[in-house]
């Protein structure tokens, strides 16, 4: 059937084109097929990267495209790396990344471990837990703003019910010490299911006979967890941490929707500073240099991480 279709297609091909195709080697044909994808990749991923590297050495401003572009050398990089505000934004980013990853990994793995018990209705609970991850960040940001409202928000009422503090005093988004945590809570709520899903895949991949052998050797549940479950699920946990780490370094939407970097600059993460420099101050060259610094940081860390992941897998 397939041969007949191929023959029909070959017969229908115009002779000049068929002659040309016959002259192409298998390798050439393979390149011909993958070249549109490669061209698209170059246009969408590689070209903007090199363009940003070029812009990072100039004083280009996107709002003044007709102005003469001067080459500044490494001046943009020097300015960024001596700027105290950007240094503080980096620390804020590190604070977010550390706590979100820690909480998401701990809660995500625990949920995966519980779901893996295969109790009655576990499929229903899995679907329910996955719902936050499927929502748009814009929707999540907006309804958490309502939840955090001191006057009408459910969150403030829940905290007030537990602690006895009046709900009007619980100002999550405008309090300097609570605002960073309000974003950490929302990000954890939204992305823990993602970590759970990856961990669940890891736990499901552990063969049952290993546990049976451990039972024969009379290993306790605790011992089985530390010697079988955790080491075998570790590559998956590390993968989840890598994905979430890269995403959280770029965290923008949630911060922008919830606090916009405020109060003051307490929640101003690197991506918010970058957006302000690029689209409010219109310092395109400067912000390109900042983006390249962030890119090198994430790329370098991902390299180390992939190396560690390979080591864990080889064990």
């Amino acid at each position: 059937m397939l041969n007949r279709t191929a023959e029909n297609v070959a017969r229908a091909t115009p002779e000049p084109l068929a002659r040309k195709v016959r002259g192409i080697s298998d390798k050439g044909l393979a390149w011909l097929f993958i070249s549109p994808t490669i061209l698209l990749l170059l246009a969408i991923n590689i070209f903007p990267l090199f363009w940003a590297i070029y812009l990072s050495f100039t004083n280009f401003r996107a709002n003044r495209p007709n102005e003469v572009v001067k080459n500044l050398g490494f001046a943009n990089y020097q300015r960024i790396l001596a700027d105290k505000d950007i240094w503080i934004a980096m620390q804020t980013t590190a604070h977010f990344v550390f706590w979100t990853i820690l909480l998401q990994t701990l809660i995500g793995f625990t949920l995966a471990w519980l779901i893996d018990r295969k109790f009655r209705g576990h499929a229903f609970w899995t679907t329910l837990i996955l719902v936050p991850m499927m929502l748009s960040p814009a929707v999540v940001g907006n309804f958490w703003r309502f939840l955090y409202e001191p006057q009408i928000g459910l969150f403030a009422y829940a905290i007030s019910f537990v602690t006895g503090i009046p709900p009007t005093n619980i100002q999550m988004l405008s309090n300097v010490s609570l605002a960073p945590w309000s974003i950490i809570i929302v990000d954890t709520w939204m992305w823990t299911p993602y970590v759970m899903l990856i961990c669940l895949a890891g736990l499901r991949s552990i063969p049952e006979y290993i546990y049976e052998a451990a039972e024969v050797d009379r290993a306790s549940n605790w011992r089985q967890f530390w010697s079988i479950t955790l080491p075998m699920a570790l590559p998956f946990i590390m993968l989840a941490v890598l994905f979430r780490g890269i995403e959280n370094f770029k965290m923008f939407d949630m911060v922008n929707l919830l606090t916009g970097g405020g109060p003051g600059s307490t929640t101003e993460v690197a991506s918010i500073t970058l957006k302000r420099q690029a689209f409010e101050s219109w310092r395109t060259g400067y912000s390109s240099a900042f983006a390249i610094i962030l890119f090198v940081a994430v790329f370098g860390l991902a390299n180390i991480y992939v190396k560690a992941l390979n080591k864990v897998k080889q064990r």
Binding site: Y77, L81, A82, K84, W87, M90, Q91, T93, A94, I293, V296, A297, F299, G300, L301, N303, I304, K307
Partner: protein, 68 residues
């Protein structure tokens, strides 16, 4: 008759430039640069973080092609 395993051909690549050692040095540089970038203690460490990280990353890319 005794069976002897075929002797491995000795690589002319210098021992100090083997992948394992070089990758470890690059990893230390990246990690150091990363910590310097996000630490809250000294602005001067932050200033030199990017160059440390960049050196480590470029080194990692190059030495990961070296023979083991």
């Amino acid at each position: 008759m005794t069976l002897t395993s075929p002797q491995k051909r000795k690589s002319r690549w210098p021992v100090w430039a083997r992948r394992g050692l070089m990758e470890n040095i690059a990893t230390v540089l990246i990690a150091l640069g990363f910590l310097m970038l996000f630490q809250p203690f000294a602005l001067s460490l932050y200033t030199y973080s990017f160059i440390t990280m960049l050196a480590g990353t470029v080194m990692f890319i190059i030495v990961s092609k070296f023979p083991e």
